[in-house]
Subunit: 408 residues, 2 copies
C-alpha cells in the first residue's frame, strides 16, 4: 500500500565508521521475526536525541533521558512487539534491567546504554526474552547491517525505511545513514516513533543536541498520519567523530550548515517514508500554508487540514469535495482569521479566491489532480509573509482494518 516508496537496497546504505549493528529473533511477541536490535558505538561518539512530548511517555524514554544527561553513550538496544508504556514502576525496572544486561555483556555501565521499545501499550515487557536474545544480537553486529535493523524495528510498517547520503566537509567525505519506523500513532511532537541516524562527521557533544532538535523540527515534526502522538517517539542522532575534518562546534559554521543540510535531506526522506507507508495510505499529501502572520499559525492551519477525517477520506475517494479543506482552515483556531482573504490551490488548480469558489474553477480540473498519488494542497491566508509545510496521507478503509485488527 505504500505510496511511491521503494524498499531500500542494502548496497545503497553506507556503513558509518564507528557503528555496528546486530539483530536477532528474541520472540518478544511473535515467533520467526527479527525483533531485537543492538547498535554498538565506538568510544568517543557524540549523541543527541529528542523524545515524545506525550506526558504518558514510555519507560524506555524516561531511562534514555537519564542516561543521555550523563553522556558516554556506547550502545542502543531496540525491541519491537511491546512499547513498555503505561507500565508504571515495573516498566521502568524492566527497561533498566535491559540496559544492565547489555552493559554486562559489553563490559560497560548501564548508563551508557539507550533503550527503545515499540509495539503494544500497557503490556509487561518480557525482559527475560530480551536478555536471552542479546548475545545473538551482539554476535551479529556488523557495519553493513543497516537494512537488517530497518526491518527489525518495523511494527505495522509494510516496508523498511532507510536512506543514505554523503557530503564533503573541508575536503573530507563523510557519510550519513538513517532508519525509521512508524505507520500509525503518528503525529510526532519532537520526534517520530523511532528514528536513528548516524554520521562519521566530527561534531562536539554540545552541538549534537541542537542538531537533533533542528533535524526533528525540519522533518519528523512536520508529518502526521492520524494525529495520535505516540508514547515512545524517539529520534537519535549519532556522530562517531571518525572523519578527519576539523570538529564542528557550532551549527552556524559553514561546515555545520553543510552537515545539517545533508542530514536534513536524509531525515526528511525518513519522515516522509513514514507518511508514504502510513497505515492504509494511498496518497501522499503535501500541505503548504502561506501568507500567515507566523510560521506557527501556518503550521496550525496545515495540521488542521492534515488531521481532518473528512479531508482525508475525500482524498482517499479522489473526490474534489474541497469545501472540507476550507472548513478545516476555518476551525484551525486562528481567532481573527478573515475568510475573505483566503485562496486555495490544488497543485496548479486555483480552487478558491478570497474565500469563495473561483469562477474559473472547473470540477474536472479538481478531479484530475485528486486522482494523482502525490498532491500539494496550498492555502494562502493573505495576512502575512510566513509559511510552513506538513506532510500527510489519506484515510482509507485499510486504516480502519489495520487498527481494528492490530492486536489480533
Amino acid at each position: 500500500m505504500a505510496v511511491n516508496l521503494a524498499p531500500p537496497r542494502a548496497a545503497d546504505l553506507r556503513p558509518i565508521p564507528g557503528v555496528r549493528i546486530g539483530v536477532t529473533e528474541a520472540g518478544i511477541r511473535k515467533a520467526d521475526r527479527k525483533d531485537l536490535t543492538v547498535m554498538l558505538l565506538d568510544e568517543g561518539a557524540s549523541v543527541g536525541a529528542v523524545f515524545t512530548q506525550n506526558r504518558f511517555c514510555a519507560a524506555p524514554v524516561q531511562v534514555c533521558r537519564e542516561h543521555l544527561a550523563r553522556g558516554g553513550i556506547r550502545a542502543l538496544v531496540i525491541n519491537t512487539g511491546n512499547a513498555n508504556a503505561g507500565t508504571g514502576e515495573d516498566g521502568l525496572a524492566r527497561a533498566r534491567a535491559t540496559c544492565a544486561a547489555l552493559a554486562k555483556q559489553l563490559s560497560l555501565q548501564p548508563g551508557q546504554i539507550l533503550p527503545f521499545s515499540t509495539g503494544v501499550i500497557m503490556e509487561s515487557l518480557p525482559v527475560e526474552r530480551i536478555q536471552a536474545g542479546l548475545p545473538a544480537a551482539v554476535a551479529d553486529a556488523a557495519a553493513d547491517h543497516w537494512l537488517q535493523a530497518a526491518q527489525a524495528i518495523m511494527t505495522t510498517d509494510t516496508l523498511p525505511k532507510a536512506f543514505s547520503s554523503q557530503v564533503t566537509i573541508d575536503g573530507h567525505t563523510v557519510s550519513v545513514t538513517g532508519i525509521s519506523k512508524g505507520a500509525g500513532m503518528i503525529r510526532p511532537n519532537m520526534a517520530t516513533m523511532l528514528g536513528f541516524m548516524a554520521t562519521d562527521a566530527r561534531v562536539s557533544q554540545d552541538a549534537m543536541h541542537a542538531l537533533a532538535l533542528e533535524l526533528a523540527e525540519g522533518s519528523f515534526n512536520r508529518v502526521t498520519v492520524d494525529g495520535d502522538t505516540s508514547t515512545n517517539d524517539s529520534f537519535v542522532v549519532i556522530a562517531t567523530n571518525k572523519a578527519q575534518h576539523p570538529r564542528i562546534d557550532s551549527l552556524a559554521s559553514a561546515a555545520g550548515q553543510q552537515l545539517k543540510a545533508a542530514m536534513l535531506d536524509v531525515a526528511r526522506q525518513l519522515a516522509q517514508a513514514i507518511v508514504r507507508d502510513g497505515e492504509g495510505a494511498t496518497k501522499f499529501i503535501t500541505v503548504r500554508v502561506e501568507g500567515g502572520k507566523t510560521a506557527a499559525e501556518c503550521r496550525q492551519v496545515a495540521y488542521a487540514i492534515a488531521h481532518s477525517p473528512l479531508v482525508k477520506t475525500a482524498f482517499f475517494a479522489s473526490d474534489p469535495n474541497l469545501g472540507r479543506i476550507l472548513a478545516a482552515v476555518g476551525y484551525a483556531g486562528i481567532a481573527d482569521l478573515d475568510q475573505a482573504g483566503i485562496d486555495l490551490y490544488l497543485d496548479d488548480v486555483h480552487v478558491a479566491v478570497k474565500g469563495g469558489r473561483n469562477p474559473a474553477y472547473r470540477e474536472e480540473d479538481g478531479q484530475r489532480v485528486m486522482k494523482k498519488s502525490e498532491i500539494t494542497v496550498r492555502v494562502v491566508l493573505g495576512r502575512g509573509t510566513a509559511a510552513d509545510t506538513v506532510w500527510t496521507c489519506d484515510f482509507s478503509h485499510e486504516y480502519v482494518s489495520i487498527n481494528a485488527d492490530y492486536r489480533s
Copy 2:
C-alpha cells in the same frame, strides 16, 4: 446503524403554541425528498441562538447574526443539500435573497427571517428553487409538523431526531420540543450543525441569549463525531411567550432553573442522538474525566480521547487495546500532567492504577465491556476535583464509506 436510537413518533412531539412548521420538496440537490422547511413564529417570540466558531462560517450564519441583533424574528427557513458556505459575497447575496422572498410572502421585513443551510460546501445555493418552493412550504405550515421538519433537515443522518418534554412553572404546564440534524463534521463549538428548540414558556429576550448559550454548553458543546467543526453549526432556542406564568427575566430564578433543566434534558437528548447516529457509529461512548484542576482541562483530555482515531477504531473492533486511551491522555496538552497519578476505568472495570496496568485487571473483563453498545470511559487525573463529560461514537469502515461517497 444508529446506536440505541429509536425513530421519534409524531404523537410524542408536543406542538408549541405560537410555532407552525411547513416542509416541501424544492429539488435543491436531489429529487423526491423534502428539503425545504419553514418555521413560522407568532409575533412576540423571544429568540436566542449560538453559532459555529468556524472562521469560515457559512453565509446564512453571517446573515442570522445580523438579523438576530435587530430582533423581532418571525420565521426561520432551512434548506438541506447545499451549505452555502465557502461561497463569498455571492453566497451572502443568495442568503439575503432567500430571506427577502419569504419576507415578501409573509408581509414581513427580510430582517425578521433567519436563514439556515446544510449540505455540500462551496457550491452555489440554487436560490431560485428555494424561492419557487416557499409558497408550498408556507401552505403546509401546521403546529404538529415537528417530525416532518426533523426529517426534512436530515443530510447523512439515518434517523430524524426530535424530543419533547413538559414542565410545570408556577402552576402552568409548558412544553418543550426540539429537533436536530447532523452525523458527520460534528465537533460543535457553540452549537451543532442544526438544532432548533421551542417552548411556549414566557422568557424575556434578554434571558434568551444566556439560555441558548447555557443549553449549548451542556449539550451540543459536549459531543463529537469526527472532530470537524462545521461551517454551519447553528442552534436556535425560541420562547413563544404563550404560557401564562410570570415572565422569566433571569435564569437564576427558580422558574428559570426549572425551565432550563427541562430544556437541557431535551437538548442533551438531541445532542446525544447526533452521536448515536454518527456516521458509521456502532457504539455510544461517554468519556468522563475527573480529578482535574479545572473543568476545561478535563474537557481537553476527554476530547483528546474522543478524537483519537486509534481509540475509536479499537472501540469499533471491541478490542480492549486500552493503552491507546492512556496515550491520548498523555498528548492532550496538559504540560504538567503526572502519569503516575492517573487511573482508568472502563464501566466498572479498573484498568489502570497510577499510570500502570492494574495487577487485578483481566483482559476478559475489558473484553466484556468493549462488546457493549454503550460504554463509559472514566479517567481520574488525580490532581484536583473538577470533572467534565463528552459523548462520542466509534470509528468504523462505514464512516470511511460514507465520507468517500458523500457527494457521489
